[in-house]
Amino acid sequence: MKLFHVGLVASLVMTFGGSVGYSLEVKGSVKQFNGWTLVSQQSVGDLAYFEVVIRTGSLSDPGDLHGLANLTAHALLRGTQKYTYNQLTQALEKMGAQISVSVDYNSTTLSAVVLSKNLDSFMDLLSAILSDPGFFYEDSEVDRLKAILTSEIKNDTEDPRYLAGRALVQTMYKGTGMEFPSRGTVAGLAKIKASDVRDFFKTYYSRQNMVVGVNSSKYERDITTMWEQRFNNVLAGVSKPLALPASVVKGRKAVIVDRQNMTTTPTYVSIPGVGDGDKDMLPLEVANFVFGADFTSRLVKVLRADKGWTYGAYSSFEYLTGQKADPGLFSIYTFPSAQFASLAVPKAVELLVEYQKNAISQDELTYARDAMKNSYPFQNDTSTKKLGLAMREVLTGRKYIEDSYEYSRLLNALTLTGINQTVANRLNTDNMVIAVVGDAKVLQPILAAIPGVTSVEVVDVQP
């Protein structure tokens, strides 16, 4: 296995010689000690990468405090006991580090990159961020952050794709925590107090509830030792895996976010999905390569190449709910010109229903299998991709296949009959939500005419 991208940067600017990119075999390890789960990989390069995944997300938001998980995650970067926000920023900049946080329904991820030469000092700072955040000492930064996040959340609703996706998820998961956006709501944020952030942190930010990944030039055993020495102050607690709820929709429902003056009709069509680590995921991925994962797939061929109705049409198990151990959704996303919505939206549904019934042909299987085998080198050709695959194995159970021969062997073992049975058995188009954004008066009859649709509702998506 070759690593490359870090080495290329190095060759341009740092201390390496003139040749581009060095590589080492990467054999990541997963170690559990003192309550920690640490994924460690060694690679040659001038940058080190960190991923800290905390098993909490917006599903942990208590009561109507929608946004508490998101606010808590961002508040981590607003200072520590020792450093104010400005001092923390300056310290990070000085050592050449970049940190970002993201929150979804059931996980929170802190991602970081740092110059390898500053790895030690960065880990000291990261330890302080994870164990002694500034909100235990100062409320004002939480209030400032609330205002910033509130403004950002309002901007989310300017994105038509976001509106379609949110309408779909809040319908598919009505009555569950996923009815609310993972970044929270303006109303929810307004109610949150600094003490709520502190309580949330104490409940969920324990080492047992985290999975840590490090890709660096250090030996794996050295990373383990460094982690043991520096992160003792992180809370001890219990692991609290947070499962996604099951979708609640029975039958086929359509929802419209009423927006005037739209020139496209952003559209999601979703049915219940399959967990990322599920034994059936590989055959389902092969079949989806044929159906909608690629530019040469059926959806693009019919809706774009043949008809010219839309610029794009794709399908994925990751849209809207991400890569999760639990079944999320299987979704189509397309955005036909508004004038073609009456043709494109029903056609997308028709293609999905037909796909569930008849799946793929032998020629299509051969094509998809070749394509997936041949493109395998791109799946793990960088440090960040490798780290992501290793973390995925721990978090979702999806096996990290390092070897392209093993990947080919697994693909070759799949049969057409087996794949088509899997599609038929694991995908159910009886329970479906279609979510569109546009003029409700125009779209209502279009959606009502789609076979099996029992209700068409106009819904609101509030920031």
Binding site: F4, L8, A97, Q98, S100, F340, Y376, T382, P463
Partner: protein
């Protein structure tokens, strides 16, 4: 597709940072080049760390050129034509190009069109070099433009155009260039208007193809696990017989100096919070002031410590602040963008920006400059962190300067910027009379009709 992926090195989100400024003295990767007698230029970056390579074909024609060409005099065809390049040759029928590449493991296959250029690119496993070369050389000269397929692709392009029109930032960006440029063809949007896209004829597409898709108007950049000598033989085999063409090289009119601030309000149905997008006329990439403007931009917008973040975001005046600096062939814009927080006004943010800029010209800024330079360099290097990105960055610079190797000088040029340079460029360029402001308003709150003040 068309893209707005301008060379926006100044935009950074999150706490960012890195690398010492002295890093700019680092060495370059192993790059070799050659040219064929027909004018085709080829740049090769050998890198055997992954069993893959990136293959990029850059044509030096974009929406600016079609506007200048009296045989066309409009925009949108360069982009529509880019779509047509995927729709079949005499040898490979419609759809085969994508299918063959996909079955052979293509990664990141796409194309983009912009003001000054059009590019086509794909990543492939190492053993597929000849296959890619056969397909790419075939469509460079043997494309068959079918009327029915042209009409179908027209629909996809309109879908792309419509998608942009539903996005406030895209519409505001179009209006920014339309307002800031009164004479130069950067005034016109690359994707064109709906009327233009609807009206292009097959004859125009044929003319465009024959005129501009010639070996002497193309540069191929290949980066990755390839052997230079084998590659050179293959290039000669597949591209050597192509005939060069006379390329219209029409110089665009020089944009007159702006002497008063321009201001345009627009309403957009999707805007929730008032938005500001502003552009300052800025020199082209080879101009001596371009690096200092990049440093100034980085000081203003990069990282959590960005001056405009402190000025606007941390004070809750605004959110989603960012910026960018064009690296076009001709002078472009330095852009800043922000959403206005509820309860605050455009004038508040504008005043605070002008005060900040004024203060920057008088203050000691060395410390802040170091931070900004480091951030710029970090993003510069991260932007070329894999073979595909590096080839892309080199291609973009090649279009602007004529030489992709100029890409590697950018870091050195930025590293050499002094405080006096930053002071000078702020006083010269970042002044109200050189600024165009586009204000996007939620529809309900907007004035009855858009207003525009112009010099």
């Amino acid at each position: 597709m068309f893209t707005h992926s301008r060379f926006a090195l100044g935009i950074l989100g999150g706490i960012a940072l890195v690398t010492s400024a002295s890093a700019a003295t680092g060495s370059k990767p192993n790059i070799q080049k050659f040219a064929l007698p027909n004018g085709l230029r080829v740049f090769v970056i050998e890198d055997h760390s992954s069993k893959t390579f990136s293959y990029q074909t850059w044509f030096q024609v974009g929406s600016k050129d079609e506007k200048l060409d009296p045989a066309l005099n409009r925009t949108g065809l360069a982009h529509l034509f880019e779509h047509m390049m995927f729709r079949g040759t005499a040898k490979h029928a419609d759809g085969e190009f994508d299918k063959i590449l996909t079955q052979n493991g293509v990664n990141g296959e796409n194309a983009t069109t912009w003001n000054d250029r059009t590019n086509y690119f794909q990543g492939m496993p190492s053993d597929k070099l000849e296959l890619v070369m056969e397909l790419e050389s075939d469509r460079m000269v043997n494309l068959q433009i079918d009327q029915k397929l042209l009409d179908t692709e027209r629909g996809a392009v309109l879908g792309e155009l419509h998608t942009g029109l539903d996005e406030p930032s895209t519409v505001m960006s179009m209006k920014l260039y339309e307002t800031a440029f009164t004479t130069h063809p950067y005034h016109f949007s690359t994707i064109g208007t709906e009327a233009e896209v609807q009206s292009f004829t097959k004859a125009e597409a044929d003319y465009f193809y024959k005129t501009y898709y010639a070996p002497n108007n193309a540069v191929i950049i290949i980066a990755g696990d390839v052997d230079f000598f084998k590659l050179k033989k293959l290039v000669t085999k597949y591209y050597g017989n192509m005939v060069s063409q006379t390329i219209p090289r029409i110089q665009p009119p020089v944009e007159p100096q702006q002497t008063a601030e321009r201001y345009l309000e627009l309403q957009h149905a999707q805007i929730v919070q008032t938005k500001i997008m502003m552009g300052y006329h800025s020199p082209s990439i080879l101009h001596a002031d371009w690096p200092a403007l990049n440093v100034a931009l980085s000081m203003l917008t990069s990282g959590q410590g960005a001056l405009l973040r402190k000025e606007w975001v941390e004070t809750n005046l605004g959110s989603d602040m960012g910026g960018g600096l064009d690296s076009f062939t001709d002078p472009g814009l330095l852009e800043l963008a922000v959403s206005v927080a509820e309860g605050h006004t455009v004038d508040e943010l504008k005043s605070s920006l002008d005060s900040l800029l004024s203060g920057m010209t008088e203050a000691s800024i060395e410390k802040e400059m170091d931070r900004a330079k480091n951030l710029f360099l970090l993003q510069f290097y991260q932007g070329a962190a894999d073979i595909s990105s590096l080839a892309f960055a080199m291609g973009e610079v090649m279009v602007a300067t004529g030489n992709p190797m100029d890409y590697f000088d950018i870091a050195t040029r930025v590293d050499a910027v002094k405080a006096a340079d930053v002071h000078r460029v702020i006083k010269t360029y970042l002044i109200p009379e050189n600024r165009t402001m586009i204000v996007g308003l939620p529809q309900a709150a907007a004035a009855p009709a858009p207003t525009q003040a112009s010099n």
